[in-house]
């Protein structure tokens, strides 16, 4: 049973790949457009999100220390 599932999955996937070669199927092509600038935008956005998240983390940490000191 398990084996049958695997084989059928393989078949479907290979069929899909040949199909996509055979004709133009519109996929998430936005990220792969000729200039590929969207990839750079995605990377840079991720870097910015990461840095900002880190900033929020530090901000929260400082808030915590502040409240600890006020308690004393």
């Amino acid at each position: 049973m398990f084996r049958l599932k695997k084989i059928s999955l393989l078949l479907i996937l290979s069929l899909l790949s040949t199909l996509s070669f055979a004709q133009e199927i519109t996929m998430a092509d936005a990220m792969r457009e000729s200039g590929k600038i969207y990839v750079v935008v995605a990377v840079l956005s991720l870097v910015m999100v990461g840095l900002l998240a880190y900033l929020i983390y530090i901000d929260k940490k400082v808030s915590k220390i502040e409240s600890e000191i006020d308690k004393k």
Partner: protein
């Protein structure tokens, strides 16, 4: 989280995504590097706002003697300097590919270098005095002098002589030749974004200083 921190995050992401994807004028020599306007020029605008906050609070400190004003004046200069160094290095990269050299002895570039040195001297001056009140008073007086130098080297001298930077040599900056309205849609939000980001760092540094003060008081 405070609303302006959320605004800072939104505006920073908007200026990156919008700055890369929204159409820009097609100009010779500049080509796509015109997008640097959103990241290089805005850094300088943010620095300008921070330094202005610094001189205002320096003057307030001199009349009030409140250490709150001194911390504000000091930390805005620190973050402003950080932005300034980033602005200078990003400008060097841009210059290499549009003006032909990393350093072209442009009057504004040189003036910026001098201004940053003047402000570095502010940091050194503060670091060399131990007494906190004396440190604050000296710093406040010196920062007024530093701001005058900044106005002179960044705003007056480049307009008197000729400069490669747009908007110099007698012309007002950002005329219709330099920027169109779609560029302004990203440019102004980016300035606010960079400023708020800097302001966030300023407040964090001030809060750390306050914690340090409290720890010293307890000991």
């Amino acid at each position: 989280m405070k609303w302006w921190k959320v605004l800072a995050i939104v505006l920073m992401l908007y200026s990156i995504i919008g700055g890369f994807l929204i159409d820009v004028p097609r100009l010779p020599i500049l080509h796509e590097t015109i997008r640097n306007t959103y990241f290089h020029v805005t850094l300088w605008f943010a620095m300008m706002i921070l330094m202005t906050i610094s001189i205002v609070n320096s003057i307030r400190y001199l009349s009030s003697g409140d250490k709150k004003h001194d911390y504000l004046a000091n930390e805005t200069v620190n973050i402003g300097l950080f932005f300034g160094v980033l602005g200078l290095t990003t400008g060097m990269i841009w210059a290499q590919f549009t003006w032909g050299a990393f350093w072209v002895n442009d009057v504004k570039t040189n003036g910026t270098a001098i201004t940053l040195l003047v402000y570095f001297a502010y940091a050194v001056l503060r670091g060399s005095v131990d007494d906190p009140q004396k440190k604050a008073r000296l710093g406040a007086v010196y920062s007024i002098f530093a701001y005058v130098m900044l106005i002179l080297f960044l705003w007056i001298l480049p307009r008197i002589t000729d400069s490669l930077h747009p908007g110099n040599g007698g012309n007002p900056a950002f005329g219709s030749y330099d920027m169109d309205n779609t560029m302004r849609m990203v440019f102004y939000p980016a300035i606010i974004g960079f400023f708020l980001l800097g302001w966030w760092l300023v407040t964090l540094r001030i809060r750390l200083k306050n914690i340090q003060d409290k720890l010293v008081e307890d000991v």
